[in-house]
């Protein structure tokens, strides 16, 4: 049994909470009145990027029920009257599951593969939300805006993802089985 000082405990708790806190921050940030062209278009999809990246590097610190709650919060905050509440939650949960089931192709591989994986999953997310919102409100919503969001967030991925990836434990073998993937001893992929 390890005896921890309060500082070590704080450190452990901090590590445990960090991904969730970052996700919460990005969910709230979707509402920030940022008036930068293009960048503000991508804000609503940034939580998707966070979910993907953390599911990749540290899924045990981002449990499914938490994602469900965050997705609902995002829908409640973002959605106008009549928009479905829970569709983002569904998307988040599915992204996490998709990443967990395809770790073989996503962990310990060149960055381009991860980027490609994100492109696919984010496209799936955008389509899911678009289809559900169109069905729910029973109107043909112009998909152009959603597509612009998608393109911007895909372009932003290489900028933000490496930063988020730094939350992972330093040694790939010193982490739970689930997030280790195919990493070998001594391997240090970004």
């Amino acid at each position: 049994m390890r005896v921890d000082g309060s500082l070590a405990m704080l450190d452990r708790w901090g590590r445990l909470m960090l991904p969730g806190a970052v996700l919460l921050f990005f969910v709230l940030l979707t509402l920030a009145p940022l008036r930068a062209p293009y960048l503000s278009d991508a804000l609503p999809l940034l939580p998707v990027l966070v979910v993907f990246q953390f599911s990749l590097v540290t899924p045990e610190r981002l449990p499914g029920p938490f994602l469900l709650a965050m997705g609902m919060l995002l829908d409640l905050l973002l959605g106008g009257p009549g928009a479905p509440v829970g569709v983002s939650a569904l998307g988040f949960v599915l992204i996490r599951a998709a990443v967990a089931n395809n770790r073989r192709y996503l962990v310990g591989v060149p960055f381009l593969f991860q980027w490609f994986g994100f492109c696919l999953l984010a496209l799936g997310f955008v389509l899911l939300v678009w289809i559900f919102t169109s069905l729910w409100t029973w109107t043909a919503i112009d998909p152009l805006q959603a597509f612009i969001q998608y393109v911007v967030v895909v372009v932003l991925y290489p900028v933000i993802a490496p930063l988020l990836a730094r939350v992972r434990a330093r040694d790939p073998l010193n982490v739970p089985e689930l997030s280790r993937g195919t990493a070998r001893p001594g391997e240090t992929t970004p």
Binding site: G79, G86, V87, V93
Partner: protein
């Protein structure tokens, strides 16, 4: 001992089962949430308002530095064209002064004529000034969050205006926050009149920067450059708030460009017209709540 082991075994089995079906359960839960939202819209509305109220202090904290940064960027941009801008403004000022004289004269004349005709004006409007603390602009919604709510006298359905014209209406109200639905939102339908011809029409948003004008009578009379103003039909909006300008009259229908610049909104005014309770069948002009007097300044 044996009982405890059994219990641990059973617990382990339950845990394994939950883990195996975790994804299915989560997916079911999100579908359930969507269905509940469809079936019980009041519950969702309350949840939205609660989330807004909780998030608005955080958003306000984010909004101030963001607004400062936006302003700095805008300042830098304007710096480049300062000389031209100055010349343009001087010219515009001269023109506006001429208009002011005309407006004063007309106002006096109007007042006199109203006195003669014993004309009864509608209820007086008072304004509540609010800061925009959040944008709820996504691919599906055009709106914003305000830092005022029921406590300041904001109510569902009130008009939200900027200096240039109508921005939207209040869609949700919390204690200290409110959500505006912009006129460009796909859910927005607004009774308007064409200022020149006094023709009535409905102005509908479709999430694009321009609005679609659906005329009740004929399309023929509308020209490019016609101003569109609120008609006041439906009762919750004051008459004559400028909304936009016709920019396109063609096969694709009449398109209107709103006067309000949604990309630069920072402060807006909520118009308390005093008749929002008409919808509920209340008296025509209820006394505004105490908070409205404190926050909003009365005009005229």
């Amino acid at each position: 001992m044996a009982i405890r082991d059994d219990f641990e075994v059973a617990a382990g089995q339950v845990r394994a089962a939950v883990q195996r079906f975790a994804l299915g359960l989560l997916v079911l839960a999100s579908f359930g949430a969507m269905l509940i939202g469809k079936a019980d819209s009041v519950l969702v509305e309350n949840a939205r308002v609660l989330a807004l109220d909780l998030a608005s202090p955080v958003l306000e904290a984010i909004a101030r530095p963001v607004a400062a940064a936006n302003r700095a960027i805008a300042d830098l941009k304007e710096f480049a064209s300062l000389r031209q801008e100055n010349a343009r403004l001087r010219e515009e000022n001269a023109r506006l002064l001429a208009w002011q004289t005309a407006a004063r004269r007309l106002e006096n004349e109007n007042e006199g004529l109203r006195g003669l005709a014993n004309f009864h004006e509608g209820p007086e409007a008072s304004f509540i000034t609010a800061r925009i603390v959040g944008d709820s602009v996504s691919a599906y919604v055009r709106g914003a969050l305000l830092n005022v709510g029921r406590r300041a006298g904001v109510a569902h359905g009130q008009a939200v205006v900027t200096g240039e014209g109508l921005a939207g209406r209040i869609a949700e109200v919390g204690d200290n926050s409110a959500r505006v639905l912009f006129v460009t939102d796909v859910n927005s339908r607004l009774p308007v009149v064409v200022e020149r011809t006094r023709e009535r029409a409905i102005l509908a948003g479709d999430n694009s920067p321009q609005l679609r004008l659906t005329l009740l009578q004929s399309v023929a009379g509308v020209q490019r450059g016609d101003r569109i103003i609120t008609s006041g039909h439906g009762g919750s909006f004051p008459v004559g708030i400028p909304v936009g300008e016709v920019v396109e009259t063609g096969e694709g229908g009449v398109r209107v460009k709103p006067f309000a610049d949604f990309s630069r909104l920072e402060f807006v005014r909520v118009v308390d017209y005093g008749v929002t309770s008409l919808v509920g069948g209340g008296p025509a002009a209820p006394a505004p709540p105490a908070g409205a007097q404190a926050t909003g300044q009365r005009i005229r």
